[in-house]
Point group: C2
Chain length 414, copies 2
């Protein structure tokens, strides 16, 4: 028997308690011993919940109880989560967290403390909800040099983009529906501005390189500027638009970005729809593998926490080395990314032929009937090169008294 405490009885914390009860036999068999939930720390009371008798309000109870070997942190936020987690690790307790902000901001320090105290610090649930992507990186691909990770890592934005794609909905309408269904927060900015995806790709990049990556280092664009017109063009080209977190690793350097990207049906991420997440990994020997599942939700996320709990029990004496070193990953400028570009321009293509050729070289032209514009699909450019060319084109247009580029969306190069 090993005793556990849960800190934070919200959606995920209560899901963990539920699974520990409902799947007790299976968990005991897998872990090799029973996991017994002794405390649930929360500011609130839950008199009608199945854990009513285990609710406590004082963190000291957990910290000072030597019987507690396992602590689940599902409070969210950095404060007091960070100091509580540190105290637990220092007290020789294994810590499992679902808190991506904590892992992204303080992971390096917490991993060091865990190593010093010979305990497990596991965080599967912080990325990709129930998809076992963190464990895949440290358990399955550990002999591989990871070359690229590209993921649909946020269910809310993927739900919105799927609605826009399948139903031709405008962004605002799709967002409203996501809010009504409880998929999006009333303040949706963390999702739709790409910040949530950014924290997750930062964690995955750090896992892949073994070095610290911070989200401030990653160029991030959200989906608020994507319109139903963009999807009309995308459909015409047999493509879809997805919010992708991408990291490319080459030698000592990594390159990461969060942005909406057009992808074709040959891309395994094309079929990842609705609130699902998908993560495509390219590695040296194995080539492309993809991992797909519920990126959020009470039970899927709680299931990932429980898998970590089982592993912590199994590895009680030989803690797992899951994470990265206290060393900064060298990040390249996002201008080194290479894409094709989808560009929407006011006017008629025939009249701007020369100007387009000069700015972008050979490009495919796509026309949507009944509009006052056209679109280009350019060849491949480095981002920094493309930006120069786009500015050049806009300057020429202004000189001629015309509007220039209305929209630019990156297009995945296979």
């Amino acid at each position: 028997m090993m005793y556990a405490a849960i800190m934070g009885y919200g959606t995920i914390g209560s899901g963990v308690a539920e699974i520990l009860t409902e799947c007790k036999d299976k968990i005991t068999r897998s872990a090799g011993q029973e996991i017994c939930l002794k405390y649930v720390l929360d500011l609130r009371e839950f008199p009608d919940s199945p854990v009513a008798d285990r609710i406590i309000h004082d963190f000291q109870v957990i910290e000072s109880d030597p019987q507690i070997r396992l602590v689940v942190e599902t409070m969210g936020g950095l404060n007091p989560a960070c100091s509580f987690v540190k105290a637990c690790l220092k007290a020789g307790k294994h810590v499992i967290t679902s808190n991506k902000a904590l892992v992204e901001a303080h992971g390096t320090e917490l991993m060091e403390i865990a190593r010093e105290n010979k305990v497990n610090f596991l965080f599967e649930a912080s990325v990709g909800g129930g998809i076992p992507i963190i464990r895949t990186l440290y358990r399955c691909l550990m002999g591989e040099e990871i070359q690229e990770i590209t993921g649909i890592l946020n269910g809310t934005t993927n739900f919105i983009l799927t609605k826009m794609d399948q139903e031709g909905a405008a962004f605002e309408k799709a967002l409203k529906e996501a809010q009504e269904l409880g998929y999006a927060e009333q303040d949706p900015s963390a999702d739709v501005e790409g910040h949530d995806t950014c924290r997750k790709i930062a964690i995955l990049t750090a896992m892949a390189t073994g070095r610290e990556v911070h989200y401030e280092q990653i160029h991030t664009e959200g989906i608020t500027r994507i319109t139903d017109v963009d999807f009309q063009y995308a459909r015409k080209m047999g493509m879809s638009i997805k919010l992708l977190g991408t990291a490319r690793i080459s030698g000592d350097k990594a390159l990461a970005m969060v942005a909406p990207v057009m992808i074709g049906s040959e891309n395994p991420l094309y079929g990842v729809r609705g609130v699902y997440n998908g993560i495509l990994v390219k590695s040296q020997m194995l080539g492309e593998t993809m991992y797909y599942g519920s990126g959020a939700g009470k039970l899927p996320t709680a299931s990932a926490v429980v898998a970590d709990l089982i592993e912590a029990v199994q590895q009680d004496k030989e803690p797992v080395s899951a994470g990265w070193r206290n060393e900064q990953q060298l990040m390249e400028e996002s201008g080194k990314f290479r894409y094709r570009y989808f560009v929407r321009i006011e006017g008629a293509a025939a009249q701007k032929k020369e100007q387009i050729q000069k700015a972008f070289g050979d490009a495919e032209t796509i026309v949507l009937e009944g509009t006052d514009e056209f679109a280009l699909l350019t060849g491949e450019f480095f981002e920094e090169e493309f930006v120069k060319r786009a500015i050049g084109f806009d300057t020429e247009s202004q000189k001629a008294g015309e509007d220039g580029i209305r929209q630019m969306i990156r297009v995945q190069v296979q």
Copy 2:
């Protein structure tokens, strides 16, 4: 430093040797110590290979060398692979195999011997090539009750079906191309008759239930009877045809089948094309997850072997419990599967309306212009029920002096 031997220097064995050399630093870091390849057992000489100085022809050298802690079995076949593996396990060596026939036929016994001798017996590469599906089942989903596993598990047949789907090719033409490209054997029966898929779904079912499953217990159909006409209908319905190995688990009972099945674009397996494999797992808490990658090929498969080698080193003192007990899994008759059915019938739908209604109830009718037939998409039936109804329909047709059902393909019920 831990010493290893490879038995069988074929495609996969030589891939393992190559990765051990090329990725030495990463492997040493992950495993915590260097893995040094000491012997390569093969009947042949390889004077020009990088392992020329380590080639041996006598198994006794490996068995009796106490320095060898790790043995990779990539010989294939049951004899002498099985007796060699047994001897290694009994001599206290960890064994990694890529041999699905061995795991399916003798896995139970080999797992027992491994447990008795406190060594690892790992077999990631036996299913799904490089996709880490075995490890996902024992490392990531170990708290979950698995409810269903459905996989595209054979790259050769998926290549053939993809050709038929995308290019309208006939089966024979697509098979010939697969043979020319080296994806299909000259005798392709193990692939196209479904036997390879069957062995793999047997292993996955055993992993999911924790009990022994043999491939003879699984109803198996191949793809040789699938025609380009079937794909014409499928496309018209927005579907594709895939060779699926499926296992459903409910309580103490499991239900498994290998057969070509029509699936729609909402199914995550729909986008698994060419020689790729995909495995969809439904489990109690996590819901649907999918794992996608190269199902075969030298380096992807060898990469899975190397991941097992690293895990065996990491778990040298506490062997992993990956596998099943010496206990037979109760298997239900495949008649208990529930599908919708695609049925092709000679003649004109209008003239058989009554007869169809009597046999199959309400069904959608699909007509391909310029043919002497039509097709039905029936409602849901248990397989045993559908068979009765189909026989009834055929009997009526014969009485009327008409041909009956030309083709039947199961259709996935979501």
